[in-house]
Symmetry: C2
Subunit: 149 residues, 2 copies
DNA sequence: AACGATTTAATCGCGTACGATATAACTTCA
DNA sequence: TGAAGTTATATCGTACGCGATTAAATCGTT
């Protein structure tokens, strides 16, 4: 016969199995994708989060730090150092908004704008590396967007 | 009329839109989930990656650093400092394998083992926070496992 | 036995993430 | 108008994540 304590332990063992955890599948997939991007982005001298920041700016520049934080769901404590590095790389310029000196405006430089074409190549190479049908990727993307919003 | 350069730009703008990027959906969802776990794990004094390491050990202890790295898909450069912190917290013990002095064996302490029950509560609270039907979560999990393996 | 190759962890440096806090600029409203 | 409240970034400390490198132990082959 099995005690209540044993049954509770069995339940814990089952529920907590790593392969049952959505959180781990997500964490692990995110790490894998970052690793997959790394060699592609090395050619541009960008890290993966820096690439995401550039995506935001290629969509629309200039943007304030706050707007970028909202788009990327990141705090200023993460963005500020990242943007300083992009500025150091000559891809963006940071300047105070004359209309509201609290705001910092991020603008693409010509070099930053020119990198867009190479980025297109990166996106295509990444798609090839994934080797997954596009509909499956689109479906996964939309499910992820809905998660924990 | 539209020039070839304009068409190429239009294509780049479309393809590179942030909301079209699986990579960003994944990155962002992973960050959100970590943030969602944080207040729950604060009660246990664990970070999110530390919680994942404990999940591995609750499944089966002792394990070598290498086995844990394989389970979690992490390098020793990530795991070693993390495990030292868990040891500092009294949840695990690190010891060299007498049969092969290269290996380091990670064992749960009684305190580490006892934390399993609280972890079960965390997993349940997280599920409530997500507020998503279980089948949807299972489906998402399996899709994530298949991605970029 | 012995020496080169391999395996296992650890160390180091860099770049995130983020909570807590600080600081400066704007807004409100008494 | 001026003090209190709010907002927009920046700074700091902690903890990852990983590539590159190192150090030690083991293995394979002769």
């Amino acid at each position: 016969m099995t005690s209540d304590a044993d049954k509770a332990l069995d339940k814990a063992v089952e529920v907590l199995r790593l392969d049952r955890q959505l959180c781990f599948a997500l964490y692990s997939a995110a790490n894998r994708v970052t690793r997959l991007y790394r060699p592609l982005l090395d050619a541009l001298g960008l890290t993966y989060p820096q690439y995401l920041a550039m995506l935001v700016l290629w969509e629309h520049s200039p943007r304030t730090v706050g707007e970028m934080g909202q788009a990327l769901d990141l705090e200023s404590s993460t963005l500020t150092p990242l943007l300083k590095r992009l500025e150091g790389a000559g891809l963006i310029v940071r300047s105070r908004d004359p209309d509201d000196e609290r705001r910092v405006i991020i603008s693409l430089t010509d070099a930053g704008d020119a990198m867009r074409d190479q980025a297109l190549g990166v996106a295509e190479q990444f798609f090839c590396k994934l080797d997954t049908p596009l509909p499956e990727l689109v479906d996964l993307r939309e499910r992820l967007k809905r998660l924990a919003v």
